[in-house]
Symmetry: C2
Subunit: 133 residues, 2 copies
DNA sequence: TTATATGCAAAGTGTTTGCATAGCA
DNA sequence: TGCTATGCAAACACTTTGCATATAA
């Protein structure tokens, strides 16, 4: 992997954010620094950086992917109303399942994908009646 | 909601399946019964039926949506190699989290999305070396 | 009868890719 | 120097939508 100006700026922009931007959001911001950068390059680099373990993708069901500068595993809270995705800073005890149950024979269990859903503070105060899911 | 021939056939075809077909797969099968049906109608009806709670959508991250004739909540096992999605017939103890933690103040917690991931029996016997994620 | 649902095709959205050129190592 | 990465635009996969017509109630 070549360390290009594009990669450096993408990582730097992503790392400075507290939230989890989409490729397009990142693109807009990076474009202010490298005006000629293309969306394709952003996607390509995001993909490479993810595979190298330098960032994480959050594959939000039914929505655009979002990117996370953190390398450590952690869970997210997704707002059903506005789609915001936040890191959960509280400990979660993972689900328990008896993988020795006969049904699992022949299967390789790698783990779980887990996401907490609800309403973020902003949408919750709007009484949650604007929720679209 | 009008009970049209299209809706009846879609539900009937979906209910007869053991797996979780995509809209396109359902479309091909329904087309054998109603040759002139359009993909748009299939998508529209799948959406309506889901909102009515008559079927469920499984919003697979990064992949096409899949549909499930079951109405009850249950979890799925997703194969990282071939993408197959199966119902897990084994009890899973949901994750535990202290929603009284200060971080949750102002948020409305509705629950979790949870998916078990790994390799299905077929891909596991291929030694898992074809896995693409 | 009449408003909702359909078929068709076009448009949308998010993401990937082919290719000639630019630029890192 | 040589090969990977870039910019650009076209292609993609999946899903949604506008519109005139058909049809359930």
């Amino acid at each position: 992997m070549r360390i290009t100006k594009q990669k450096k700026i993408i990582v730097s922009v992503l790392s400075k954010r507290e939230d989890h931007p989409t490729a397009t959001e990142l693109y807009s911001e990076v474009k202010e620094i490298i005006p000629k950068i293309s969306l394709g390059t952003v996607y390509r680099n995001l993909d490479i950086l993810t595979k190298k373990g330098m960032i994480q993708v959050i594959d939000v069901a039914g929505k655009e992917k979002r990117y996370d500068p953190k390398k450590e595993k952690h869970y997210h809270f997704k707002c059903l109303s506005c789609g915001a995705l936040e890191d959960i800073p509280v400990a979660i005890k993972p689900p328990e399942v008896d993988i020795h149950d006969a049904w699992f024979d022949g299967r390789v269990v790698e783990g779980f994908t887990l996401e907490m859903i609800g309403l973020c503070p902003i949408c919750a105060t709007k009484r949650g009646d604007s929720r679209d899911a």
